[in-house]
Every structure is written in structure tokens, then in C-alpha cells.
């Protein structure tokens, strides 16, 4: 589904990604782990075209995103939950969740309201349509962000640190939602995190980035068996 080949990204003199290779298979929930500042979030920004790589290639469904003429056509296949949820402050929850539908379809207001209610129900948030993001708790904001990410029925959902900044109970609820959504929607998911409870709770595969490269990848069982001191220290902490 997503192929990353020999990816390079520099910020000034500092190379964050140094020839990174990664394969995200269709229908799996792949977890990308690594220490803070190792380039996990940068990888998501490169996959969504928010940043341009200095070298290498990313292909989604076989299409290299750096060469594609209409990047927005590929972006419509992607939903993303940002670390801070990134809800639009000036809009209500309903307008946030229905944003892509109002921008890219000819659906009527009533039809959009119906879809928004359905997506909010999927994330266990009924009846909050008229609230503004400032009136929501951290966990609720993440859930609204999740509802917004799935509103356009994406093929791929990207999660940037989904449980960061949440208390353990709310974090577990978000993990449960990610598992449920994966089971119901059968989408390909990429979860960037350094929360190992979350990683083993929602993932089916895992890859670790260290020193700008993927040093280990495989199923969760395979990852537990790989003989790499950095990886084993990271997953056992």
C-alpha cells in the first residue's frame, strides 16, 4: 500500500532521515516507533506531501507522490489524526467533521449532518455536533479528530501520537477506538507513537526508526524476537 524507498530528509545540516526504507502492507495497522526527534512525525508529513523529501521516493498504491500531478487526489484517500487533533477553532464539531464532505462533494447539508452523526457515533461521541473545540476535553478532541479523519471513508488512516497528552484511561479508550475502527472499516493504518502500551494494543506490525533508518520491522511476534539491543530496550521500557 505505502512504499518508502531510500528516503532522505535534512533540516539545515542535520539529516533526520538517512535512506529510510519501509513497507506498509494493505489492511494492516503498522506501528512506527522511535525516540523523540527520530523523524517519525516527519515521515507522516512526507507521506502526506506536507514536506518534500531531499531524496528517495514514496509510493501510495504504486503512485509516486512526488510526481503525481494532483496530489489532492491521493490526499482524499488519506485521513489523519494529528497529535494536537488540529481541529478548526472557528468551526463547530459538526463543521469540523463534515469539512471534507462540504469541500469535495455535492452532498446536501442534511446528508452531511447524517454522515457526521454516524461518524461521531463510531467514536462514541453523540450529541456534541454544536459544540466548539474549545468546549471539549483532550480525549474528546482526539475523538472528534478521529471522526474527521474517517469522514471521507479513507483507505489509509495516519495517527500521529494518538495517546500523547492523555491520561491512561482516556488513552486506553483511544486505543480501543483505533482497534474498533480498524475492524469495522478494514483500512490501512499507520500509528506513530512512543507509547509501547498503545503500540502493542493496536498494532499488527511494527517498525523502529533509529539514526534515520528503519533498524527493525515485522509482525509483533517477530519484533519481540529480533536480537537488537536498542529495539529490545525500547519495547521493554
Amino acid at each position: 500500500m505505502i512504499h518508502v524507498e531510500n528516503l532522505w530528509k535534512r533540516f539545515g545540516d542535520k539529516a533526520v532521515l538517512k535512506g529510510l526504507n519501509l513497507h506498509i502492507p494493505r489492511g494492516e495497522t503498522s506501528i512506527v516507533i522511535g525516540r523523540s526527534g527520530c523523524g517519525k512525525s516527519v515521515l507522516l508529513k512526507l507521506v502526506t506531501g506536507l514536506m518534500q523529501p531531499d531524496g528517495g521516493e514514496i509510493r501510495i498504491d504504486g503512485e509516486p507522490i512526488s510526481n503525481v500531478k494532483d496530489l489532492n487526489r491521493i490526499r482524499r484517500k488519506i485521513g489523519m489524526l494529528f497529535q494536537s487533533a488540529a481541529l478548526f477553532d472557528s468551526m463547530t464539531v459538526e463543521e469540523n467533521v463534515g469539512f471534507m464532505l462540504s469541500q469535495h462533494t455535492n452532498l446536501s447539508k442534511r446528508e452531511i449532518e447524517g454522515i457526521v452523526a454516524e461518524k461521531l457515533h463510531l467514536v462514541d461521541l453523540d450529541g456534541v455536533q454544536k459544540l466548539r473545540p474549545a468546549e471539549l476535553s483532550g480525549g474528546m478532541r482526539k475523538r472528534v479528530g478521529l471522526a474527521r479523519a474517517i469522514a471521507f471513508n479513507p483507505e489509509v488512516i495516519l495517527y500521529d501520537e494518538p495517546t500523547t497528552g492523555l491520561d491512561p484511561i482516556t488513552g486506553s479508550e483511544i486505543n480501543r477506538l483505533i482497534r474498533n475502527l480498524h475492524a469495522k472499516l478494514k483500512v490501512t493504518s499507520v500509528v506513530v507513537t512512543h507509547d509501547m502500551d498503545s503500540a502493542f494494543s493496536v498494532g499488527t506490525r511494527m517498525a523502529m526508526i533509529h539514526a534515520g533508518q528503519v533498524i527493525a520491522s515485522g509482525s509483533l511476534d517477530e519484533i519481540r524476537m529480533i536480537d537488537n539491543a536498542i529495539l529490545q530496550q525500547f519495547i521493554s521500557e
Binding site: L50, M80, A86, L87, M100
Partner: protein
Amino acid sequence: MGNDEEQSLSTQPHRRSVSVRVVGFVGGWIFKKLHGIGSAVTFVYSILSLIFRRPFQFNLLVRQLLLVGVNSLPVVLVSGIFTGMVLATQGYHQLKDLSAEGSVGRFVSVSVVKELGPMVTAFILAGRIGASITAELGTMKVTEQIDALEVMATSPIKYLVVPRFVACAIMLPLLTTFSIVFGIAGGYFTSVYILPFKMNGRFFLEQARTYIFISSVVVSLIKSSTFGMAIASVGCYKGFTISSAGGAEGVGKATTGSAVTSLIAILILDFVLNHVLYTIW
């Protein structure tokens, strides 16, 4: 002699390294500024290329027209009136020394139409609207809302910048018209009722009618529309170029920078446009 030579030889590498560092610093500074100008020009080009591209989001434009125009009207009117009143008072005292106090009407109306109407309105809008655009878009940038727009296949320039740019380009001339009318009214009120001279009201208006030319009004409106585009472009550019890691401090700095840059841009544009437009007409 020998000692001097040795000394000068020993200080040469030091001097060279200092001069290389100075040249490097100046070169780096010039490169940075040129890069900034280049990216600002590219930004304005993207705005202009997206204005006439579908989809046209009239609801967003109407919202900005209200924010820029209707909400700014009271402050523009008050500043317009007092500009005219101050002009009449100052004009009276200056012209009295030349025994030309009867020309206050001409002095006020020409000054307000040609310069003070557009300039005062643009200055107010630069502080009020330009700074608020930077603060709003800057906050959206640091909270990843602009990234979210892009990921949702929506151009942030088309969605956020174009409505603000068009609203400023339309509303500045309208607000300037109000400022001019109320400026002349302020000058009239001061000349006729407050100044010791007690000018004849009909004479004041006659002077205004005689010395306000259509070309001056057209130039003023073109200038104010250009000022509007400059204020929106600077405000949006400053908001968009805040580093995501800048946080609240970055937003604060960019907001101040936006107001200052807009004011300087308005002054430079005023000089250039006066020179060009009054040469044409």
C-alpha cells in the same frame, strides 16, 4: 623595521579571517533577505493565480467583507472626522500667516482626498486587520490547522488567504470613501463653527467642489485598493511563515512584524503610486 614587518605578517591572517567573517555575515544576511523577498513574491503570485479558480467560496468572502469592512467602519469614521478637524485647525493657523485663511476648504478637501483619507484608513486597517490576520493564521499554523487543511485536500491559500485578500482589496476603497466624506465634514464643521475665522459654509463647499478632481478620487481609490492587497498579503504571509515550533512567542513576534511591515509597505507604495498614477493622469 624587521619587527614591524613581522608584526604585520602575524596580524594578516587574523585580519583576513575577520574580513572573511564580515563578508560571510553580510552575504548570509543579503541571501536571507533575498530568499524572503523571493518567497513573498511567490506567495503573492499563488494568491493571484488562485483568485479566479473554482470553487468560489462566497460565504467565506462575505464573512471577511463583514470583518474587514463593517466592523472597521466606526473607527474609520471617527478617525476621518478628527483628521479633517485637525487639518482645518492646522491649515487655518498656517494659512493665516499668508493671509490665505480663506483657502482652508481647499486645503482640507485636497489633503483628505489625495493623501490623508487613503493613508489614515490604510494605517488603521494595517493595525486592526493586518495584525489580526497574522495572529489568526499564525495560531492556525502552530496548532497544525493549516497542515490539516492541506491533508484534507484543500488549498490553505485558496481557503484562507484569497477571501481575506479580496475582502481587503474591495473594502479599503469603500472605507476610504467614508473616511474622505467624514474628513471633509470634520473640516467643514471646524472651519464654520469652531475656528475664530467662522468661514462661510457655502464657500467651503464651493472650494471643495472646485478643487476635488475626479482623477484625484480615482487615484485615491486605486491606491487604497492596492494598500488593501498589501495589508492582506503581508498579514497572511507573516502568519503562514511562522515556524510551527515558534509557539505563542512566534505568533506575537509575527503579529508585530506584520503591522510594521504593512505600514512601511503602505508608505513605499504611496510614493510609487503617486509618482506613477499622477504622471499618467
